[in-house]
C-alpha cells in the first residue's frame, strides 16, 4: 500500500520562480511525478506561503525581482515552520561564490539550469526520501 507513488504524493513542494512558463512547466513535471505544488512568483510572494506547515521541500530560482532567492532562503531559515526544510535552488551560475552565498544563507543544494524533467525529479527524490 505504501509504495513509492503514495509516499511522493504526500510531499508538497514550493516552487518559486519569476518566469511563468518555467513555473508552469515545472509544476507540470512535479505534479506528474505525484507531488503537490505550491507556486510562488518571487521571494516576497513566496513568504506568504510559509505559514503553511506542510512544505516538504523548497525549490527556488536565485534571480527574481522583489526578493531574490538568497533573501528567500534566509527568510525561510528564520521562519517558525520551516527552519529545517530542504531548500534547493536553481542556478545557471556555476561559479562557486554564488553557491557558497546560497549555502551560507542556508540552502541544501542546487540544481543546474537548464535541466531536464527527469534530472529534476531524481534530484528531488534524493532529497526527499
Amino acid at each position: 500500500m505504501i509504495n513509492n507513488n503514495i509516499k511522493d504524493m504526500a510531499k508538497t513542494i514550493m516552487f518559486v520562480e519569476d518566469s511563468e512558463s518555467v513555473r508552469e512547466a515545472v509544476k507540470f513535471t512535479l505534479e506528474k511525478a505525484g507531488y503537490n505544488v505550491i507556486l510562488g512568483t518571487d521571494g516576497s510572494d513566496a513568504l506568504k506561503y510559509l505559514e503553511n506547515p506542510d512544505i516538504d521541500l523548497v525549490l527556488t530560482d536565485l534571480y527574481m525581482p522583489n526578493m531574490d532567492g538568497i533573501g528567500l532562503i534566509k527568510e525561510i531559515r528564520k521562519s517558525k515552520n520551516h527552519k529545517h526544510v530542504p531548500i534547493l535552488f536553481l542556478t545557471t551560475e556555476t561559479h562557486k561564490h554564488k553557491k557558497i552565498e546560497a549555502r551560507e544563507a542556508g540552502a541544501t543544494g542546487w540544481i543546474v539550469k537548464p535541466f531536464v524533467p527527469e534530472k529534476l525529479i531524481t534530484t528531488i527524490r534524493k532529497v526527499l526520501r
Binding site: I2, K11, D18, S21, A25, P53, Y63, P86, T108, K126
Partner: protein, 710 residues
C-alpha cells in the same frame, strides 16, 4: 516538455525581450542605474535557464555568453558603454529571430558572429574567460556528453573518501545520504558506514547526525569534482579525499576483501595502509594492468601520524561485521514482505514459548541456555522488524489536505488546515486502518463543525475556519486528534434526540460524556440538515467500530461555539508485547509490562479488611481492583496475593492477582468482533502449551472500575 509549454515560453520570452529592450534604452540614459542592469541580467538569466527546458537550445546557448558579459557589468568590471549597448541590442534582435523560430543558416552564422563579439568584449576588458567544464555551454549538449564519456574511459581512478558530517548537518535539511547518492552517480562506490556513535534510543536527538562514512570510489571524475559534491557541507564536516589507485581497483575482489578487514566501527581506516594494499595488488602481474599509484596526491588533512599505531588494531579486528556495512545504505521493500516477516516472527515467538516451556520441564542447563538465547534473539528480531514497519502519520496528511480544500470549497466555507507532530510514527497497518475513520471525522468537521462564513462573521469568529490534525505520544498510546474551531456539539440537542429515539428516558440525567458517546451508536446523527457529505447517521459508529478493531478508542471533547476535538487513542505497539504472565485461579492473563510499576505480595486478609478498596503500600494509599471478583471467578484465594501496581495516567492502581508467574513475550491476537463490547481485554495470546491467555487492557479495567464505583 510538450508544445503547450514551449508556446507559453515563447510568448513569455517575447514579453521579456521587449522589457529587456526597454531596460536597455533606459540604461542608455542612466548608465549607472544598477536597477536596470539587474533587470537586463535577470532577463538573460531567465532566457538562458528556461530556453533549454523548452527545447530551445539555441536561445540558451546564445544567452549564456550574454549573461556572462552582464555578470561583469553587474560587478562593475565592464562599464556600460554605447558599444556594449549596441552589441546587446544586436543580440536582442538576434534573440527575437530565434524566438520567431524562423531559423536558417544566416541566423546561425549571425549568432556565432555575435557570440564571438561578446567574448571579445569580455576579453577586451582584460578578463580571462573561464572555460570550465560546466560553463562551456557554447558547445552543443551532445558533444559535451560524448566528451565526458570518453574522458571517463580514459582515466578512471579510485579514491578514498572520508565523510564525517558535522552533527548539525541535518538542521539545514541536508541529507548526508543524498551526498552519498550523488557520489554513487559519479562512479562505482563502496560505502562503509560507521554508526557506533549513535546513542541509545532515549538519548538520541533526531535532529543530529551521528553517523559517518568512508567511501571507496572508482570514477572518471577528478578530485575537484568530488570536492564539489561536498561543497555545501565542507565547512561543517570533515572531508578527506585521497586517490589510492589510477585505475578501478574496486573490481579487484582481493582489494575489497582487504579493505573490509581494515574496517573498524567508529574509526577511520588508515589511508596509508589502504594505498599500500592497492599498490601491492596493482604491481602483481596480470591482476590489473595499470601503473603504480601517484603517491603525491592530496591528503586533505593530516592524520598520517596515527597510522602506525593503528596498524595493530586493524590486524586483530578482522571482524565479520564489516560485511554488514558494505554497499547500499537503504533499500525499498514491499510492505507485503514486512507483513510476512512480522508473521514469521509472531510464529517464532510462539514456538520460542514452547521451547522455554520444554526447557523448564526438562530442567537441563544446556537446553535452558539455548532457550534463553533464542528468546533474546527473537526479542531483538521483533524490535528490529517493528522499527521497519513504523510509518509517520505524515503519510496520511496529503489526502486530508485535499479533502479539506475540495470539500470546503464545495460547501462554500473557508478552512485552513494545519498539522502537528506528523512525524509521529505508527505501525503501517494501523496507519492504513486509520484512513477511513479519519476521513469520516474530517468530513464531519468540515460539514457540521465549521460554520459557514456568514455565521462565523455574525458571532465574531475569524472568517476562516481552522482544522488541525495532531499526532502525539501519550504514555503507551499514540493519540491522533482532529481539532476544529467550529460550532461544537450541542449536548442538549443530542439528549433531546436520544429521548425522542427512546434511547434514554425523558427524566434521566446522564453525564455529559455519556451523552456525547451516544454519537457512536449506530444510526445516531445530530445534523439537523442532511447533506450529501455526511449527516446520514452513518459515520461515527463506523469510526468507533473500526478504531476498536485496532484496539483503540475514540473520545470527543466539545464546547458549543468553540469547537470540537475528536481524539483517536491507539496502543503504541501492535501484535507483540512484552508482558507479565499472571494467574487468577486457573486462568492465566498477560499484563503489558510497560504499565507495570511495582509488585507487592499482600495477605488476602488485609485486602479483605480494607475499606473502599484502598490499601497502604510503599507509604502511599493505593486503590486496588480485585480481579477475582471483577472477573467473577470463583474459588478460594491464596493466603498471599499479589498486587500488581500499574500506571493509569497520573494515577497508580493495584490489580490483585493470585500469582505472578514470569515475564512473557506475547503475540497479540484479536479475540474477534464478538467480543468488541467487553471492557477488560485488548486481545489474547497463545501460550507455549497451546492454551490461551487473555491480555488485560489495564487502562480500560481501571476506567471502568472507577466509573462503576463513583
Amino acid at each position: 516538455m510538450n508544445d503547450h509549454f514551449q508556446e507559453k515560453f515563447i510568448e513569455e520570452a517575447k514579453e521579456l525581450v521587449s522589457g529587456l529592450e526597454e531596460a536597455l534604452l533606459l540604461l542608455e540614459d542612466n548608465p549607472d542605474d544598477t536597477k536596470h542592469i539587474e533587470e537586463v541580467f535577470r532577463v538573460m538569466h531567465t532566457l538562458k535557464g528556461s530556453g533549454a527546458m523548452f527545447g530551445m537550445n539555441e536561445i540558451s546557448e546564445f544567452t549564456h555568453n550574454l549573461e556572462s558579459l552582464y555578470v561583469f557589468v553587474k560587478e562593475q568590471q565592464i562599464p556600460v558603454t554605447k558599444q556594449l549597448l549596441d552589441l546587446t541590442l544586436d543580440s536582442v534582435d538576434h534573440i527575437k529571430v530565434l524566438l520567431s523560430q524562423k531559423i536558417d543558416k544566416g541566423t546561425l552564422s549571425n549568432g556565432l558572429e555575435l557570440s564571438g563579439k561578446i567574448l571579445q568584449h569580455i576579453k577586451n576588458a582584460g578578463i580571462e574567460v573561464l572555460q570550465d567544464s560546466e560553463s562551456s555551454d557554447i558547445l552543443p549538449d551532445k558533444v559535451r556528453e560524448q566528451d565526458k564519456i570518453i574522458d571517463q574511459q580514459k582515466s578512471v581512478a579510485t579514491f578514498y573518501i572520508l565523510f564525517k558530517p558535522g552533527k548539525e548537518i541535518l538542521r539545514d535539511g541536508t541529507n548526508p545520504l543524498y551526498l552519498l547518492d550523488e557520489l554513487s552517480t559519479m562512479g562505482s562506490t563502496y560505502i562503509f558506514r560507521h554508526s557506533d556513535n549513535v546513542p541509545t534510543f532515549r538519548k538520541i536527538d533526531p535532529a543530529l547526525c551521528y553517523t559517518f562514512w568512508e567511501i571507496l570510489m572508482a570514477t572518471g571524475n577528478v578530485i575537484d569534482d568530488i570536492h564539489d559534491v561536498f561543497l555545501f557541507v565542507e565547512d561543517v564536516s570533515t572531508i578527506e579525499i585521497l586517490k589510492i589507485a589510477d585505475c578501478n581497483i574496486l573490481d579487484n575482489s582481493d582489494f575489497i576483501r582487504k579493505a573490509e578487514s581494515l574496517f573498524v566501527e567508529g574509526e577511520a581506516m588508515s589511508k596509508a595502509i589502504l594505498k599500500n594494499i592497492s599498490e601491492e595488488l596493482i604491481v602483481l602481474p596480470g591482476k590489473l594492468q595499470s601503473k603504480p599509484v601517484d603517491k603525491a596526491v592530496i591528503p586533505v588533512s593530516e592524520t598520517g601520524k596515527k597510522d602506525n599505531h593503528k596498524k595493530e588494531n586493524i590486524t586483530i579486528k578482522q571482524q565479520p561485521e564489516a560485511y554488514e556495512n558494505r554497499g547500499i545504505s537503504s533499500i525499498r521493500v514491499s510492505s507485503d514482505k514486512i507483513d510476512n516477516l512480522m508473521n514469521n516472527i509472531s510464529e517464532l515467538v510462539i514456538v520460542q514459548a514452547r521451547l522455554s516451556l520444554l526447557a523448564d520441564k526438562m530442567n537441563q542447563p544446556d537446553l535452558s541456555q539455548i532457550s534463553e538465547s533464542v528468546e533474546k534473539l527473537s526479542r531483538q528480531l521483533r524490535d528490529n522488524v517493528f522499527n521497519i514497519s513504523l510509518v509517520p502519520v505524515k503519510n496520511l496528511v496529503a489526502r486530508y489536505k485535499r479533502l479539506v480544500r475540495d470539500l470546503s470549497k464545495e460547501l462554500g466555507k473557508e478552512i485552513d488546515f494545519f498539522t502537528e507532530g506528523t512525524e509521529t510514527a505508527l505501525d503501517k497497518n494501523i496507519i492504513e486502518s486509520l484512513t477511513d475513520p479519519l476521513l469520516h471525522i474530517f468530513r464531519n468537521s468540515i460539514d457540521h463543525g465549521i460554520e459557514d462564513i456568514e455565521t462565523r462573521e455574525k458571532i465574531g469568529k475569524p472568517e476562516k475556519g481552522k482544522i488541525t490534525l495532531k499526532a502525539y505520544y501519550s504514555g503507551s498510546e499514540v493519540h491522533i486528534a482532529v481539532e476544529d474551531d467550529g460550532g461544537g456539539i450541542d449536548i442538549n440537542k443530542i439528549k433531546e434526540k436520544a429521548v425522542n429515539k427512546g434511547i434514554i428516558k425523558a427524566g434521566a440525567s446522564p453525564g455529559e460524556k455519556e451523552i456525547l458517546n451516544l454519537i457512536f451508536l449506530p444510526g445516531f446523527s445530530t445534523a439537523s440538515k442532511v447533506t450529501g457529505v455526511s449527516g446520514r447517521g452513518v459515520g461515527m459508529d463506523v469510526v468507533m467500530r473500526k478504531i476498536k478493531d485496532i484496539r483503540g478508542n475514540v473520545e470527543i471533547d466539545t464546547e458549543v461555539g468553540k469547537g470540537t476535538t475528536i481524539t483517536i487513542k491507539l496502543p503504541l505497539t501492535l501484535s507483540i508485547i512484552d508482558g507479565l504472565l499472571v494467574s487468577v485461579a486457573d486462568s492465566l492473563y498477560v499484563l503489558p509490562i510497560s504499565v507495570v510499576d511495582k509488585i507487592f505480595p499482600v495477605k488476602h486478609k488485609e485486602l479483605q479488611d480494607s475499606f473502599n478498596n484502598i490499601i497502604v503500600l510503599d507509604g502511599g494509599q493505593i486503590l486496588f481492583i480485585y480481579l477475582r471478583s471483577e472477573f467473577v471467578i470463583g474459588g478460594e484465594a491464596p493466603v498471599y496475593e499479589q498486587v500488581v501496581v500499574v500506571r493509569h495516567g497520573e494515577q497508580k492502581v493495584g490489580l490483585v492477582v493470585d500469582a505472578v508467574i514470569r515475564e512473557y513475550q506475547a503475540v497479540l491476537k484479536p479475540v474477534g468482533s464478538h467480543y468488541k463490547d467487553q471492557d477488560f481485554f485488548s486481545g489474547a495470546t497463545i501460550l507455549g502449551d497451546g492454551s490461551i491467555a487473555l491480555i488485560l487492557d489495564t487502562n480500560r479495567i481501571v476506567s471502568k472500575f472507577t466509573n462503576d464505583n463513583q
